[in-house]
Amino acid sequence: MVEIARALVCRDLRLALRRRADVATALLFFVIVASLFPLGVGAEPNLLRSIAPGVIWVAALLASILSLARLFADDFADGTLEQMLLGAAPLGVVVAAKAAAHWLVCGLPLVLLAPLLALQYDLPGPLAGMLALSLALGTPVLSLIGAIGAALTLGLRGGGVLLSLLVLPLYVPVLVLGAGSVEMASAGLGGQGQLLLLAALLVVAAAAAPWAIAAALRISSE
């Protein structure tokens, strides 16, 4: 089972490497959205410092949605997905591996880029670290929950817009806890509580979401 998961993750990473532009688009989107806010709300340093966690988190949610639309679409179009559904490998493991690969390609770069964006917002060093840590715990949850939406909207007209309508409300707890942890830390209260809850959310999502994704894929491709 571990073998299958590893093979799938490697395959998806290799595919992403061959199509670097797709990955870069979502990342650039993240950077551009985060850079637009100071232009919109003004460059007053105190204001920027206070909105930074929320803005960067919201940008991460949107970037995650943007890349999710293609999570199963290519495999669906060329028939690979059908083989995965028919194959002997348990579908839960397959989709968990796909979600993990999605996080490695689209989530991890956001985590690494976030401290850089935090500089733009004049966030002090420890808080930037906190932000990256909260994103590291939160973005896998986004990939897992988003994969349910991606599986449900597979092959539908206007799937991308529909996907955001379905998934964004479900992202609320991750956003609240993620941005909240940085805000608590900046208020001097320590954001460990929120980070632990975020970790709990990750554990629950990792345990439960693969079943929902597998069920949704079976429904969408029958």
Partner: protein, 230 residues
């Protein structure tokens, strides 16, 4: 077991019609009684004056909005597990009514908030989670509307409703930790209600009226769906 006797659309169709008619009449009777108690019998509130009377619409609508989501998810889960057409139809029929009550709860809440809190909207925990509930209803309806194949549409909607139902408590608590201004619940099962008995009676009557209305409207909608499919 006669449980599945009414699971077939043919046998359920006439029964649904009868129940819908009875419930529609009951809804009208309960609404008239509830509004009478609310407007003429219940005393004026010591702090808020007459404006509090919006509670007779607001609180029952908020109850219904949450309860109908759970009910919708339960029907959807039943449809997914037992593969019964009727359960999926019930889930589909409940969604618009649930969204309507969520909207009414938000609307009356903001009208109530203006004179008492001085603002139409605050980013308070209950308001926010009610708003997200409205988005969840919209997501469910949008997903079902965009899938043409009826069977796939029902099953996809069911998965989304179940995922949403699992998420609702998490959303509720996350938003509650985030911010709260709304007063605590005035009514609970564990203790006596902290309000005058007539106010409580008015609220219960209105809640019953909304219940009856929901049953009547969703059963009528199910009947329409059955007609469409024939």
């Amino acid at each position: 077991m006669k449980w599945f006797w009414y699971a077939s659309p043919e046998t359920f169709f006439p029964l649904a019609g009868t129940i819908a008619r009875i419930c529609a009449v009951a809804a009208a009777v309960f609404a008239v009684a509830g509004l009478y108690v609310g407007f003429f019998v219940a005393p004026t509130d010591a702090q808020q004056g007459e404006v509090y009377r919006i509670i007779f619409i607001h609180v029952p609508a908020a109850w219904m909005s949450m309860f109908l989501y759970v009910l919708m998810a339960a029907w959807a889960a039943l449809g997914l597990a037992l593969n019964t057409r009727l359960s999926a139809m019930m889930a589909r029929a409940l969604a618009p009514t649930g969204a309507l009550f969520t909207f009414i709860a938000l609307w009356t809440g903001s009208l109530w908030g203006r004179p008492t809190w001085g603002t139409f909207w605050v980013w308070d925990a209950r308001l926010t989670s009610e708003l997200i509930l409205l988005f969840l209803y919209f997501g469910f309806m949008a997903l079902q509307a965009s899938i043409e194949d009826r069977r796939r549409s029902d099953r996809a909607g069911a998965v989304l409703a179940i995922v949403g139902a699992v998420n609702v408590p998490i959303i509720y608590y996350s938003v509650q930790w985030w911010n709260t201004l709304h007063q605590g619940a005035s009514v609970s099962f564990s203790r006596a209600p902290s309000m005058a008995a007539t106010m409580f009676t008015g609220m219960i009557l209105m809640a019953l009226a909304f219940w009856m209305y929901s049953i009547a409207v969703s059963l009528t909608r199910v009947r329409c769906m059955m007609r469409e499919e024939k």
